[in-house]
Symmetry: C2
């Protein structure tokens, strides 16, 4: 079964998971949050993924109506990403997921609200 094949089925959750399917997208949503971010900033904050994948994910999210891509025709280029209303509506749900994880976590290192993923490899 290919990546977004689920969307073809008449399953609401399936479609939701298509838009949110990659484990990156929720994180990207959470990183962008309510401010605008340039591509480079995103790439630094989520540097566990390659720039190519980040680009791909952002493109898909744009197509799914989660993010807005604003391109400035300048030199050097500048592109800013922000959440659409749909993307913003996802935030509270993602927070619930975080709480859920925090509440029921069993194993793994301590993790409060410090999302060290975001600036993990910045040296």
């Amino acid at each position: 079964m290919k990546k977004n094949e689920l969307m073809e089925y008449n399953c609401p959750l399936g479609k939701a998971m298509s838009a949110l399917g990659s484990k990156w997208k929720p994180i990207i949503v959470l990183v962008i949050k309510d401010r605008k971010l340039r591509f480079g900033e995103l790439a630094v904050r989520i540097n566990v993924i390659s720039r190519k994948v980040l680009t791909d994910q952002l493109r898909e999210m744009e197509a799914d109506g989660l993010v807005i891509r604003q391109e400035f025709k300048e030199i050097p280029p500048r592109v800013e990403y922000s959440l659409t209303e749909k993307g913003l509506a996802l935030l509270p749900i993602l927070y619930l997921l975080e709480e859920w994880e925090a509440k029921y976590q069993i194993k793994g290192p301590k993790s409060k609200n410090d999302c060290t993923l975001l600036d993990h490899k910045i040296s």
Copy 2:
């Protein structure tokens, strides 16, 4: 980046997405819901995935504390799956996701609450 590598990072949402990462797991949770289901029933209801993958997913979910696997030493064998408290706590969040999808959906065929994925290929 390998499948559950995210879990190694100190990111709550990342860990949540590890447990919920596969796009199948949310659906499996939703299918099991609050009743017990035998493996065969699950396989029929979610027949878009192979039995092998279903088995794998269930094993992972068991390890993540989402489902309980109850094996009856009978012939023929019988195995029943049910949700743990942690898994049950996920349900309201998944419903929110469905609502979110329903509210903001743009394209695709009409889909209310009929999750035809579940009995899609049953002929």
